[in-house]
Each structure stands twice: as C-alpha cells, then as structure tokens.
Symmetry: D2
Amino acid sequence: MIIVLKPGITRKLESTVLAEIRKRGYRPHVMRGVARTVVGAIGDELTHANLETLVTEFPQAVESVMPIQKRYKLVSREAHPADSTVTVRDQIIGGKKFQVMAGPCSVESEKQLLTTAEAVKAAGATILRGGAFKPRTSPYEFQGLGEKGLKLLAKARRETGLAVITELLSENHADLVAEYTDIIQIGARNAQNFQLLIAAAKTGRPVLLKRGLSMKIEEWLLAGEYILANENPNLMFCERGIRTFETYTRNTLDLGTIPIIKKESHCPIVIDPSQGAGRADLVAAMCKGAVAMGADALLIEVHPNPAEAWSDSAQQVSLDSFAKLMRELRPFIQAAGRE
Amino acid sequence: MIIVLKPGITRKLESTVLAEIRKRGYRPHVMRGVARTVVGAIGDELTHANLETLVTEFPQAVESVMPIQKRYKLVSREAHPADSTVTVRDQIIGGKKFQVMAGPCSVESEKQLLTTAEAVKAAGATILRGGAFKPRTSPYEFQGLGEKGLKLLAKARRETGLAVITELLSENHADLVAEYTDIIQIGARNAQNFQLLIAAAKTGRPVLLKRGLSMKIEEWLLAGEYILANENPNLMFCERGIRTFETYTRNTLDLGTIPIIKKESHCPIVIDPSQGAGRADLVAAMCKGAVAMGADALLIEVHPNPAEAWSDSAQQVSLDSFAKLMRELRPFIQAAGRE
Amino acid sequence: MIIVLKPGITRKLESTVLAEIRKRGYRPHVMRGVARTVVGAIGDELTHANLETLVTEFPQAVESVMPIQKRYKLVSREAHPADSTVTVRDQIIGGKKFQVMAGPCSVESEKQLLTTAEAVKAAGATILRGGAFKPRTSPYEFQGLGEKGLKLLAKARRETGLAVITELLSENHADLVAEYTDIIQIGARNAQNFQLLIAAAKTGRPVLLKRGLSMKIEEWLLAGEYILANENPNLMFCERGIRTFETYTRNTLDLGTIPIIKKESHCPIVIDPSQGAGRADLVAAMCKGAVAMGADALLIEVHPNPAEAWSDSAQQVSLDSFAKLMRELRPFIQAAGRE
Amino acid sequence: MIIVLKPGITRKLESTVLAEIRKRGYRPHVMRGVARTVVGAIGDELTHANLETLVTEFPQAVESVMPIQKRYKLVSREAHPADSTVTVRDQIIGGKKFQVMAGPCSVESEKQLLTTAEAVKAAGATILRGGAFKPRTSPYEFQGLGEKGLKLLAKARRETGLAVITELLSENHADLVAEYTDIIQIGARNAQNFQLLIAAAKTGRPVLLKRGLSMKIEEWLLAGEYILANENPNLMFCERGIRTFETYTRNTLDLGTIPIIKKESHCPIVIDPSQGAGRADLVAAMCKGAVAMGADALLIEVHPNPAEAWSDSAQQVSLDSFAKLMRELRPFIQAAGRE
C-alpha cells in the first residue's frame, strides 16, 4: 500500500499515522517528496486489507491510499507464462487451430437444432452452442426448454461429433448441465454470481466465462480466479460487449480485450460478436477483427430461420450467411498465422 | 410495434413486408409521411415478440422496428395507482414514517453486532442491516460468517426489537436466510440472477432489490416484476449507485431514481449512500439529498470501528457519526413532510 | 511518482531503471515489499512529466507508474481553505443566501423574455438566464438570436434589476457577450475548449463552467484551473448531468458532485436540473435534493409556454410550476441553514 | 413523430391532443392497438420540432413521443449511395489503397519531425501527422509550438513529399492552419465545438473529425453534417476511443464504428489506435483489427524516442516498432482486399 499524506501536516500527526500503520501489521517506509510525503506500507496486502480506512480516520493527515499488488494470481501470466489450452473432445482451444463455436441462441426443437448443427459443422465449426436454460430480462419471455433442451444437445453431439457448450443458470442445475455438456458457459448477468462460479468449477467441466455488462478487466480476471481457485484449470474468457452510452448497438464489443487478456493471463480468449453487436449485419466485420487481433475462438449465434427464433432473433445469422462468413474469415485466419 | 420503412421502396416490396407482418399475427396499419412510410403493427407485443427481425430479413425495406408497450405490468403504477407499503414487524416502509436501516457491512462478532444494533436503535434506526453471506470480487477476501452470522442477527433482533435485513447469495440458502431475517436483500451483482429472485420471492419474505451496476430503469423494474409475478407483493427497490466513467467515487449514486421509481411504480424506494459513494465522508450529504427527494428509507453502513471492519471499511460510518447524521437529517425529514 | 517493479527482476535490470529515473531529474527511493519492489521518484511532477513511459520502455521491469500529486492548484481548497464567493450586481453566490438563476433555454422575443424575467423575479429568482448563442447538435436546428438576444437580455436586466447569465460559444464573441452579461456560461460541449475558457477568463466577467458530458471531476477542476490561471478569480462550477448507459433520462444528474466540489475546491457549486433530467416532471425533486446537499445555487429553465419553445421544450418548466417550485423549496433552504 | 397515448384515457382528452397536433402543423393518424392507442403525426420533423412537449403538457394523456426521421442528410448513405473519397496531394483516402497517417503527437523540433517523417515514409506511410496546437487537460502542460510547428510540418512536407495533417484548436487559427496543412484535424474535445467545425469547413481543406469522448454515432454524424452543410464535401470520420467505466486502457476503442459508419455514411473512416488504447503495447493488435474490419486508414502516433516526448509519451510507438507494425499489417491489408 502507498499512503499519500496531506501537505503541511505536523510531525506529531504524521507519527500517529505511522504508528497506526505499524499496528496493522505493515512496516511503514517514509519518502519525503517536493510537494507531498508518501509512505510505503510494506506487508502482504492479500492478508491485511484494511489500510484504506486511514483516509476517513485521519482526514487531516491522509489524502489517499493506493494498492500496489495485483489481486489475481492463478489466472495471471506471471503465475503461468505459457499459454494454457482447453481440450474438449478432440479439439484444442488456445492452440494453433482457430476454433468456431456456433449454434442457435435457444434450443427450440430437434429439427431446428440438428439442421443447425449439421450446417455449422459443414461450414467448419467444431463446437455447437445452444441455450437450454435462458436468462431473460422479463419473466414473460421464453425461458428455455430446460432438460429437454440438454437432451437435444446431447443427441446433436452424438449425430455430428461436435462438442457442446451451453449455459448454466442455477447452482441446482450444475450436475445436470455437466452431464450433458462439454463446456459450461457462465453468462454476462451471472459473471459475478460467485456461488454459480464455484458450482461450475466443481463440476470439472471446462468453463467459458463471459464478461459482465460493466465488468472491469480486473474484476473479470478475479471472477476467473474463482474457477482456478476451485481446482478447475480449464477456463476461457469470453468478451461479449460492454454497456456504454452508445445506443446504436445493443452493447459495445471491446475487441481491445484480446491483446489485454493475452498480456495479463494465460487463458484462451473467445469473442462473441452476436451479443456484442446485437445486430446480425455487423457480425461479419466483428469476426474478422477478432481473428486479426488474436482471438482463440468465436462464439456465433446461428439459426435456420432467424425471424422465427424464440429469443434474440435480431442478432442470429442464417445458415447461408454463416457459411459465407466462414469462407470470408479464411484469409484472415491465415494472415493471423492460424489454421 | 412501429415499423419504419426505408424511403423510396417499391410498392411490391412494401406489400411483401405487410404480408409478413400479418403472417406473424399483427394487423398492419400504414401511415404515409413526408419522408418515410411508417407501419403500426397492431397486436399484443407481450405474446408476439418477433417483428424485430424484419430489419435483418428485409434490409432493403425496413429501417427500424420500435416497441410501444411497456414490458412490466405488476410493478407499474398503472397496475396499482396508490403507493404500496411493506410492513416488517411493527414498521411500515413506504408510509408516512421515514425509515432508517443501519448496521455493519459484515456481521463479524456478537460484540460488534450488538454494540452497533444498540447504538443505531438509540439514534433512531428501526431496522438492522448486516451481511452474513458476502459476495466478494476476489476469492481471497472474507466471505462472511454464514449461518453463524444469521444467528447473531437473530439474537440482536431479540435483544433490541429491531427488524433485520440481510443479503441472500445462493438459491440453496433461501430457506435458511428466510428463517432468520425480516427482509431479504438481493445485491447489485445478483440483480439479474433470475433464479435467485424467484427463490427469494418464494420465501414470502419482503425483498429489497438493489439496482445492478449497469442496470437500466426498465431492466430494474422487470427484475422487480420477477418478485411480484412469483406472488410476493412485498418489494422495495434500492438504488446503490451505478457504474460510470467517474473514478473519484466508487459508484455514481443516481438520486434521480427516487422521482422516477415513484412515477413508474407503486413500490417503496430505498437509498444506499454507503455503496453509492464508497466513502464515508460523502454519506451525510447523500442522505440529506435522498430525504429531500422523497426516498422512503435509507440503508446505511455503520461500524463501531470502521478501520477494523473485515469488508468495505472505507465506506462505513462510526457510531458517533451515525448519531450525528440522524440529528442532522431531522429538519430535512420534516421539510419532506415525513416523520 | 510511484514506480511498481515486476516481481523477480534482476538487480541489474533494477539498476538500469533507477539510473533512468535519476537521468530524468527525480531521486529514486526504493522500498522492498513482500510481493513487489516499489520505487518512489521524488521530484516535482508538474515540471517533469515523463516517467510514465517506463512501462513501455522497460516492459520486463516496470509494471505500473502512478502519479501522486494533484494536478490542480488554484482551484483547490488546499490553496484557499475558505469558501470563495462570486458577486454579481448586489447578489453573492456562495454565501449564506441560496441563489436561483432562471429563465428560458433560448431568448426568443422581447415578450417571451420580459414575461419570464418578471415572473421569475416575482417568484424569488435573482439572476436571469437565457441563451442568445445556442450550440445545437444538428446544423438544421435554431441557433439562437445572437446579438439581438443579448440586447433583449440587457433590456430585461434594466427593467427588472436581475443580473444576467448567458452562454459564450465562440472566442470571437467574447467581448460582445461580456458587454451584455454579468456571468459568462461555458456549456458542457465546450468544457474542454481551452481557447474558449481562456477567452472567457480574459473578459474579467465571472464564469460559470458546466461539467462536460463525460468529464471526470479532476478534468473539470483542471478546466476551472484555466480560468483562475488566466487571472479571473470568479469561477463557479455547474453540474448538469453526465452521460451514462441510462436512457430513461437525457443525462444522469450527479448530485454527489456537491459535497465533492465543496471538499476539493473553494469555488461555488451550482446545479442545473433542467439539462440533468431533460424532463420537466423530474426538476422539482432534483432541486430539493440539490438544496439539501449544499448547492449554492440552481440554474433552472423556465418558459412562459414550454410547448412553443424553440429549443429543449421538454425540459422547461412553466411560470406557474416555477412559482410553485420556489415555494416548495423554502423549507429545504431553511433546513440547509440558508436564506 | 409517433405519439403513444396512455391506456384508458377519455375520447375527449384524446381529441384535445389530436387538435393540438394539428395546430402544430402535423396531420394525426390514429391507430388503436390492443394495449395502447398510437398516433402517427405526419409532417416534416426537420422543420417542425416541438411535439415532444406533449408529454409534459398532457401528462394524463401522452406517454411518450418518438421521432421517426433520421436527423442527418448530407453525410448519410441514402443521400450518396457510393463511397466518397478524399484526395490529398496524390493520395486517395477511401479508395482501394489503404492509407497510413503517422507521426509524433506534438511537433517538438526540426530534427524530431524530419527523422520521424523520413522513417514513417520509408515504412510506407503517406501522410504525416503532428500537433502544432495541443489541447491539454491542464494549463500547466506543454501547449504546442504553434506557428513554428506548422512551419516545421510544411518543411517536412517539402522534403519528403508526404501530405500533412494537423489539429485546429481555435477559430482564429483556421486560415493560418489551412495555409500549412493538407488535412485539418478536429480533436475529440472539440467534436461538438460547432463554431470550430464551421470555421474548419470554410477553409476548404479536407476535415478529419474525431469522435468525441462520449459522442453517440448519431451525434457524430450530425457534427459531420456541419462540415458538409458548410459546403465542404471532404470529410473523414476518425474513431479514437470512447470513455467507458473501464480503467485498464485510457479509452475503449470502438472498432464496431467501422461497419456502422460504412453502413450509415459514404464518408471514409479512419482509426486512431494510439488515443484509443493510450498504451503503445496494444497499438499493433488494434491496427490489425481495424484493417480487417474495413477501415480506410490508420492514424498512428510515432516518435523517435517516446520516453522523451513532450506529450502523451506512453502511447507513442518508436520508429522501429512502427516499421515492424507496417510489415505485420501487410497480410491483413491483402486479406481485406486492399493495397
């Protein structure tokens, strides 16, 4: 911790503050600068967290208190300098091969899901997405098929060989969902639902953690830390757009997270342009940007008939558009040195 | 729904769009304006939700699609024009009497809790707050005393007669928490954890629903709708600051929500200035503003020794400061026509 | 400056960084902590500003660089512990008396302005606002009456004795506007138009500086510093709402700025609830909050016939509503210890 | 305009609203829906702008008023379906060739500028950037060399043949800056300084308009409208990052603006990753993304010795890094079908 003292305080008041710092288990280290005196409090901040109150306890003496240490450990690149990878079935996420996860926003019927699964596989996707439990802003909207949806995903997996990713909404469903899926998705609205993160981690399945709507990078990394600290090493981060003042798009897709996550963490980074834009007509450009910037995978909403989708229809691309998109991505995947 | 057509499209293309609108169960109503033709699609939007795809299906013809109906019903003032109130023990929230809920961020020990409870009661608070289960950004921070904390809250209630409010973090704890508390608090990070909202509603206990960090008013009202739609009429909204670009304070307390919630809904509105500011030195001014603007209650973090608090120590006020604050609020409560 | 070194770097690399810090005119002060080594660089940051590049120059060695000193001086309460006041005609802003500035968004005609001026004076306002030069998002919207508007303001001042405030949009109009007005207003969109700030300061007229739409407190104080540094001591800050993700209101009025500006600066703080809400029906509650929280003055848009206003009609209150509002504010002004 | 009436109002009140709509020059068109009655007000919204007050004038009757027409015309793709291009010297921006504008944040000396100009030219840039007038958050920071800086830019142009872009800060400098530069840059802080936009347009020089820190797409397009409406057809939009809650980077670069500007407007779109990230280590990835997503040009800060730069040193890349970046971009430029 760095404690910045106010200018012009008495030596006596300064001593009181220093004594207090010592009392809380830190060793104070005084630096007298031109305009301010600054105190470094030496000690492990992860175990002693309460110097921040000095500002309110000694309002005449203390101007600000700033932390120094990073708060995350296991997800950090410092802890694990090489890239880590996640393997599902025979596919590696975070390796040389660029992966595409695709499928409908919600699982609606056997026909809808199997048609989509076959089409996305033919176009080059290796992982099938589909929501069985859906978090909906309004209680009057379609909430997903539940276990029936999970069974359809399992069937699609058997028939196509694609791995499956689906969202976990409730701690109580953790075992059920884990039974049917290869990857557990944690949605943006639950990104700081720590009980759910722990439950997901404990299933042992790889976890794809979406960024919350207004989650800072540090908070996202710390939410990921909940997965690794609960002994599940298979974590992927997924950027899906943040909430800003802009209203043209549903969210603002923050593609800058790709180099940032690569710098701060060893875990793979996946981009979801469908949620990010909320508009199918912007998805293709965003996919190209994600590939060029070094993302490890894409998560794309695809529907055989977007107009009749039971949820988020405006942002799902058709089977044809998806196949076209996959062809257009090829030169960019190559330019990025991926397969 | 209002469908705005692009300028200069052919009558044939227009007919195709109109036919599609009819096919989806709406009656189209065409208005030819100076610069644009606009179509009103008449039908109940709560049951037919999929006209928004027209933008992507007919990109040459459709410029935008706008909803007309409000998406919330039970929480709306239209549904219930009079103010609703919530009664806990012998206290009414939302009535003539201005209520103050106060207590520590986390329950830490019997001594800490009872000292605080007695002090806040003496100063005029009627409801005791205290966290037993704590949602923490980092897995390495103090996570609360759990059931032991709930038991201490129950003891403080017995000894002081204060009602109790505490946070529910997990669906699995709903019955346990309901057993010990008078009001269930849903925290900002769980404000769109719909499974938790349903579990809280079903306990039958009054629910205080904090606004999520980047939740729009409409989404907050819809999250409240989850409580009322699950047959629990005792809902209070609680503003605790939103996330903005400003870094001087931890959050930006949006006091404008007081007149807005009063206008849109019949449910009481509570202000939490401690989370809102994240700094004890700004709490007093924010409380005065909340009272003057018509809030029904305050939720304030108070600790016998903020410096030694196990969580959020920078934002908790001391017992003395709290007593002083309560005295300072009196003229404003009077000016607002409250008791 | 505080330079945080990466964990585990060699002593040799550390020495290189320390040498570089010395080379740039600072004295390095090393503190070896548990997890990190931290270097305090002692020297005046206002004259040596370039240590921040160490992060990119020594990416293996330097984790982050944090400034310590406050960047503003003249506006800070440290520089001037007592409250400063601004006197226009016989009115003092920032003193015991609570001041109200009111009038139309735009000056439209003699009749409109004089009717409003008389009505707001009768209701208790002491300063007349009115825009002669209007910044408009679209080039096709009404841009103000210009000099003709200034002359009408001067006439209203002569006839009512009210002081006048109006916005300055262009450096080229600084002398012209100063000739007719008692206070120069700098609008939100020009809050970091530094050339305009300098031109306004040099007229010698008191300046009311609105907060930019996404301006941090520190940036706002620094923009104010441009006024004081150009030898004009008569500065008022005016909060008028910031831009956030919320779309219910036009802006989010940040009333927390009242205690913050009072803490950081000696200059008066004025609240503009009309721009803040963008809706006349929320103005009254926001005024009450502002008074209770310690604002020095209000700036309210009032129009004899809001529906026919040539700009921002949705946010202007009628003459009757204004008179009612002034009556309702009285008990809160009293409770706040003002006149 | 679309006027949404409240449910359950009397026919008499409805008639009053309809009469009012007619009085303001619109033809009302009533649609009775299941839950609401909606009125289309037919008339040109660009000339009649005041129906929005109906909400406050008839609070019992009118729930909301929504505009239908787009507010921008000349910049819109509707007005000009083909891409427009801007030619400076022998270079075309917006055509087949991908353009790179590069140079120091501030012009500091002849040596610094010429060294940079030659290096960026050798690496493939065609336009030289450099600030002579600098907008600085603090009055105590370096404000640019002014006219001396312009003369150095002109000299660099003569010696290298590169075109020049520099920022205009003050209406009073418009002619002076236009004399020396090929492109006038309007900075983010002045993006809604409409007087400056008009002054820039009137010089006849091409204008590069940066997006304001919290400017919505629509506002940005309307600011561009000020250029075209003042008879200057040579407009480029430049995304440079918006202000969000995230603090890891200085701004959040919104690369989604590339497909959006391409869709809404015919004008070229340029990306500035240096301001966007505020960190040199993220610039390369952002450039690759911009190229892949279809940007027409990049604007990159390059300095022979970033550590000694007089402004924004943390975000400038070195000459070597720039040359390396240009090599790395080549496969992406090719994949995007550009030269």
